[in-house]
Symmetry: D2
Subunit: 195 residues, 4 copies
């Protein structure tokens, strides 16, 4: 079993919610949906799926968190633009704006979770561990199956041994180097946008 | 919790499989999809969903059973016609033809399960108990969630107390009486065909 | 321009209409949609498109005719079964049952029009000439475009020279010979069923 | 028949094309698709339909023009953001950025055409006259039918009497006054965004 403890959400701003912390959600299943507002597959597939999770499950069982992780075209996918986007698409679940870093295009939470692009779906169990981390499309039945299984698990005891995720952010140096303009045109395909 | 033990499948004939018995599937989750080959919602929704379950799960974990439960238009939804239908639609999972009864239009398994029409989805847990019994559409995320939860349950011990389903078939006398020609035109709507 | 005069519809029976003759529809655009009730692509694509044509156009401008042209599995796609099918799918436009022939599986109208399978769409202009004859899927915009163009044409004069379709039926001997059981499993693909 | 001569396209900038003028397209059918990059129904319905028109017809017969008519949220639907949007959605047809005006939110071409919101589809005949002007969804068969009919018309003679559209822009004063913040939340529904 993957026993990486889910890193925190480093957010510049929250919509539809007060700030949420992964630590404080212990006991619930958490579904983090990372997206970019101009990523076609996020709009056609990822965000509707996140809304469906939000509607299907009681909020004391499953917490959906949208994560706007902009790793390209930063000057147009701004917090102000996202606000309009959330309004026009009537998204109702909590959405965090991933925190930019000083050097490099990949924001802080995206790096910490080692996401490979958008849309990405991360499922975190009641004990705070990452159990699914997938970039690209996952169909609804698979998502329902995964969440259903996690819901049946008991929260682990506070002192259960888990691996620290301290080394995770470091691993993202490599992908951020791929992020050159010359590759721009191949970044988004019909399945996802990749870093 | 619903603790009705799932009745047996009374089949006139099987396709894509040797005869299966519910009793012998103890330990697996079983998804019974009841349909009629001329029910529009079965073709557009129910059968594709049954195929998706069949493809997603390993057969030693989840067993899909199609159940052709004809309760109207018996003279045209014949075993011979079903054989062509299965061939043309390339259905690959086991399909049982529900056994007709001498008096009344509702076949034996449909009556035993008290199904209200087609499509119906019945989920049976590892201990052989009915845990979902729904006529009409259920979306894929809900089905995945329900199966995911059942997969995480341990099979109950052989001697666990469960309620006999002995009285179930009796309850179907009422619905079969509704089955008059005068109501024919309202039986199938965009969601399902009802008895 | 294809100047084949459309052959008559040879019908064993009509649903939703008194018998129609191609000759008597001179002055209208006619859309003949050939289907088989157990052809998957007819149900998912062809019949909904025929219904859309029926709903979009006034009946004094465009006449839709469904043509049940059974060329395989004759024993189960019977007139009685079709009647149930039309009822369950709530098809509202005129539907003719293509007339079987004594020798060979291909019914008479299908042979006269040299259709290659189902679904097939035939468009006939105001002068009674075949202007489109396509087996497989055609998208809605293309169908709308073709009908729109035909609607703008003036009916040709009664004595306009047109090629007789007398030789058309003869040409169907070849396809009917392909109709052997050994090819059965490859006949219907995701686009259409072919003879 | 509506005999309003189509006003010119007042563009701040063009993508995928040198500047096009309505006057110079006389002889072709022109389909102007007005959209906003953050209008949900434009993304799910209008732009795919514009692409379908672009793919179906030869460019010497039908000219598709995308028109980015921003009438709300101007600060985020900028030319720079549109450039990214066109890239990510791989739009291949000519797209004009509607020219902003000094006073009021409604850009110049949108006002001249009296568009009521986005998506809007305007069809212009070979003689340069507006023949369809619809805000909201139109299905593909209807669009194909309308274009097909226009394609069959001969271009009118140069000196045909047509009504000047000089008064058209004036009529837009009213709608622009509706554009207050208090109505913001009701502007985009599942069919379209309205001014």
């Amino acid at each position: 079993m993957n026993t990486i403890i889910a890193p925190e959400i480093y957010a510049q701003q929250w919509h539809n919610s007060d700030p949420l912390s992964i630590a404080s959600l212990r006991g619930k299943v958490v579904a983090v949906h990372a997206f970019q507002m101009l990523c076609p597959s996020c709009i056609s597939h990822g965000l509707p799926q996140a809304s469906a999770i939000h509607e299907l499950y009681a909020s004391d069982q499953v917490q959906v968190i949208g994560l706007h992780s902009v790793f390209e075209h930063h000057s147009v996918m701004t917090p102000e633009a996202l606000k309009v986007f959330i309004h026009e698409y009537r998204l109702g679940f909590p959405i965090a704006i991933d925190q930019p870093v000083e050097h490099g295009p990949i924001p802080k939470t995206m790096a910490a979770y080692q996401l490979q692009g958008t849309p990405s779906l991360v499922l975190i169990d009641r004990a705070g561990r990452i159990r699914l981390n997938h970039t690209g499309r996952v169909n609804d039945m698979q998502v329902g199956n995964a969440i259903g299984q996690l819901l049946k698990e008991a929260p682990v005891a506070e002192d259960a041994p888990v691996q620290k995720a301290a080394s995770a952010p470091a691993a993202t140096h490599a992908p951020s180097e791929k992020n050159t303009d010359s590759k721009k045109s191949e970044r988004c395909n019909s399945d996802h946008c990749s870093i």
